[in-house]
């Protein structure tokens, strides 16, 4: 791809190696060695991974951290592949979009942790006797936490490609492949990278759940930070929990510095503004690579092959079938029948399978009680999002109006969002037991621990984008207190708050599966709700109840989004958008 050239365009005349080459070489070689080692471990026989082999010694943590990170990146690669194919298909074909987008919408609402129980068995059957099956299941679980928002972002970008660029690419007869790499991917890049970062943050939460999987009688423990934490919780070893926290923090900082910072800086040039933007933030890794001459030279062929691939027409020749309007109408009808017929078959088969699985196992009373539990969890989500908003909106506004502070705290808020709140659950359990509190109430805050930060940093973003002239006008007319909040600031940050609130509430539903049923050693605390219902069913390997729980939760989330967040979002877009 010719535009991935920030690094390699700067060909220098002198080729003597520089000190920067040394640093760069160490980085590259080290990363390669680690990846190879990790990949070898992943192919080991299944017998080699059992709980006994997980060690709580801190010296084992670097390897665990590496393997967890590899899983996350494997999932990220899979998510990218999914994004590029699924979202492209949905955006390019109206027929495909009519099916794929609603599916994506539902998938986004289905609790990720509910997937685990189905996929583990499936992947184990594909790779019998090897760790690869379990690895794939774990990677798939992380993938389900990452892929949906990336696909949505890419789809949105494809739908909003500027008309003149679209016409230019067609008028100059770029093939679909060329168009994809030269127009669509670059245009979508900034939003996609931002969503990749969010996905990586979001997936930590599920690492713990996906590395130590037990479905019914099958228990698999994959070496990684997640299973380390699981063991620490089982053994009530608070020190080990803190070691794991430290390791995680190091990993987060490392990929932030080595991958996302450079990516964000590089993606600056894909921003679709025809004016000079802000200067690119300094990124030390890009500087090192730019100064390392040998690396530059080594990158030239890499760059060249990218260019060759992206420029290759890869189309099926110039052959075109000239169809008359009547032929076209008939073809359209035929394709429509085939397409919708196929989906009708898939749907019918799905319903049949569902019936076979559920029939005789689940009565209407069970469905009714699942809905009742759903209402309880809904109450928790609503109350918690409300409380979190009351706290974080004022704080976010306060921070956002102070640009220096906002820049520094924004990063911290992002790390906090990445922080898997489930690592803090043990502390909560100890506290609840110590004070003899009611778990139905006091377990609830755990649901929002990890997701409240979305509200905070969206409000910060909103307040920092609030126009200075409006602030000045408010100050000039001495608008203060209540009026200032309700007439000036809150309408200004409202669209941003909606985005944050939507993400936070979706995340909280998901988190309820781990937050409503918490263990610490042999102690088990439970809050009544749909989350604990699914968690218990998963532990028991009770498929009909898992399916019921997951479906009820998907219904709740979808309805809640459609009836509450969407209308608010539409209102904010219509009335409160700053032009």
């Amino acid at each position: 791809m010719s535009n991935i050239s920030t690094i390699s365009v700067a060909r220098r005349e002198r080729v003597a190696p520089s000190a920067w080459d040394g640093i760069a070489l160490c980085l590259v070689a080290g990363t390669l060695a680690l990846i190879i080692y990790g990949a070898q471990q992943m192919n080991a026989p299944l017998a080699s991974v059992s709980k006994a082999q997980i060690s709580l010694s801190p010296s084992a943590l670097p390897e665990y951290a590496l393997r967890t990170t590899l899983r996350m990146f494997a999932a990220l690669a899979a998510s990218l592949l999914f994004t590029f194919t699924y979202a492209t298909a949905a955006a390019k074909s109206r027929r495909a979009g009519a099916v794929l987008i609603p599916i994506l919408d539902v998938l986004q609402s289905v609790p990720v942790l509910g997937f685990l129980s189905f996929t583990v068995t499936g992947f184990m059957a594909i790779f019998p006797g090897s760790v690869a099956g379990a690895e794939c299941a774990a990677i798939f679980a992380i993938f389900t936490a990452q892929a949906w928002n990336m696909a949505f972002s890419f789809y949105q970008s494809l739908r909003t490609i500027p008309e003149d660029l679209d016409e230019a690419s067609r008028a100059f007869r770029l093939s679909a492949w060329q168009r994809f790499w030269r127009l669509e991917v670059p245009f979508a890049m900034p939003a996609l990278i931002w969503n990749m970062m969010m996905s990586m943050s979001g997936s930590w939460f599920f690492i713990v759940a996906s590395e130590a999987i037990s479905v019914g009688n099958t228990t698999i423990t994959l070496p990684g930070i997640g299973s380390y934490v699981a063991l620490a919780i089982e053994r009530r070893d608070l020190t080990a929990v803190f070691y794991a926290l430290g390791a995680m923090l190091v990993v987060i900082l490392a990929y932030d510095q080595l991958l996302f910072r450079p990516l964000v800086a590089w993606a600056q040039k894909f921003r679709f503004e025809q004016t000079m933007g802000q200067p690119t933030p300094g990124v030390w890794l890009l500087r090192v690579l730019n100064r390392a001459r040998l690396v530059q030279i080594a990158l030239v062929p890499v760059h060249k092959s990218f260019v060759a691939v992206a420029h290759a027409p890869l189309s099926f020749g110039r052959w075109r079938w000239r169809r008359s309007p009547i032929q076209r109408r008939w073809l359209n009808i035929i394709w429509g029948v085939i397409w919708w017929g196929l989906w009708a078959l898939v749907g019918a088969y799905g319903l049949h399978a569902l019936y076979v699985e559920m029939a005789g196992q689940i009565g209407w009373a069970e469905v009714f009680s699942a809905f009742k539990l759903g209402l309880m969890t809904l109450t928790r989500v609503v109350v918690l999002v409300g409380l979190a908003s009351l706290v974080w909106v004022p704080v976010g506004v306060w921070i956002g109006l102070r640009p220096g502070l906002a820049m520094r705290l924004q990063l911290i808020a992002q790390i906090l969002a990445a922080f898997p709140a489930n690592l803090l659950f043990p502390v909560a359990v100890v506290g609840i037991l110590h004070f003899g509190l009611n778990p139905n109430i006091w377990l609830s805050p755990l649901m929002i621990l990890g997701t409240q930060w979305y509200i905070l940093f969206n409000v910060i973003a909103g307040a920092s984008a609030f126009p200075t002239d409006l602030q000045d006008a408010a100050a000039n007319f001495r608008v203060r207190g209540r009026n200032w909040w309700f007439k000036v600031m809150l309408p200004g940050v409202f669209p941003y708050f909606i985005t944050g609130g939507l993400t936070a509430s979706g995340g909280s539903w998901n988190a309820s599966i781990v937050a409503e049923l918490v263990t610490w050693g042999n102690t088990r605390l439970e809050a009544n709700g749909l989350g604990s219902y699914i968690a218990k069913a998963t532990a028991a390997g009770d498929y009909p109840r898992i399916i019921l729980g997951v479906m009820v939760m998907a219904v709740f989330v979808t309805l809640f989004n459609r009836l509450f967040w969407r209308p608010l979002h539409a209102y904010a877009e219509r009335r409160l958008r700053m032009i």
């Binding site: 535009n3 003149d164 770029l174 093939s175 890049m189 025809q274 027409p313």
Partner: protein, 439 residues
Amino acid sequence: MAMASTIETKTVLQVEGVRKAFPRPSGGEMTVLENVDMTLKEGEIVGLLGRSGSGKSTLLRIMAGLIEATGGKARFLGEPIDGPAEGIAMVFQTFALFPWLTVLQNVQLGLDALQISSDEAHKRALEAIDLVGLDGFESAYPKELSGGMRQRVGFARALVVHPDLLLMDEPFSALDVLTAETLRTDLLDLWSEGRMPIKSILLVTHNIEEAVLMCDRILLFSSNPGRVIAEIPVDIQRPRNRLDPKFRWLVDSIYERMTMPAKAQAAGARPAFSAGGIDMLLPRVSTNSIAGLIEALAGAPYHGRADLPPLAEHMHMSTDALFSIGETLQLLRFAEIEGGDIRLTETGTRFANEDPHVRKQMFAESLLSYVPLAAHIKRVLDERPAHRAPYARFAEELEDAMSEEWAEQTLRSVINWGRFAEVFAYDENQAMLSLDNPV
């Protein structure tokens, strides 16, 4: 090459009976182009001149193979056009440069589909960049360049494919006056020196002087539906001088022709629908511009009468914008347009001398007498017991006769005029028209 003298000039492009219609949401269709014929010969610059919304850009896109005609035939070098053709290149009003590609990469993009070696592509791109005078800027990104330089990149990208036909869609209208003039002159120089690897140029524009300056032939477009109403040959020696009496005379006469259909339209000559002319398309003109133009016309040096071209220049307005305001004045009977002149009526002169309060009353009177849609809305509101009616009620009524966007534009205009005249009120939150005075 462009001026290559062949005994028989070849036809580059031929359009016969082309029609384009878009389906309307309320059923039926809306015709944008009706029965358009034209030919383009080798060595010619032809201009498509018309007001915005006259379908000339649509015609250009049919020729570019970007959209399909509903009826009729379009042929390029004898072959029917059914998709973007090799040998046709396009220059865009908005430049359409890829912000993430450098100048060189943007220009090379034109060659991607041609399957030539990368060395050859590199060489040709450099030549094109050199030709448009951008050497030294090869590694710059579009956002580092000024508007004029960006459009030069646009030209280089089109020229690099060595097209037979260059299509230009209002290529200078997004540029400031000085830059646009420089670019026009440079392009004409390259053309007359035969240094551009192209055979013909088709230029879409709404700027009359630009068309007269650049074209060998001008096709005048009318609106609703778009069709060619006149073909005007420009027999003025190049390089042309804007002050040349012959140039001025041609510009004036085109002005005259372009204002004629507008007059017919205001007088209700368009096929009227049963609703009694409420379906008249209203331009988006603010009451401030209306008052402003009346005041300007009433004052020195015009004293109630002005020639349109110099007036446009004096008021720093595009022809199109001036036409819209002038037509609104004519619709409200504040002025009359005739033979490229605009003249204040008695009412118009009185309006200019009155205080804001009386002006509002005069405006209300004219609005209710001469804008059927305004009178219609007032009547509906009067008849309803609550004196309220939703926006959608009128929008749907209009959409029977025009496209959704035009219905919205028309309704927005009449709402703004009605608000100014205090004839009716509008609540944006509830999308509700009423007779209430807003509190």
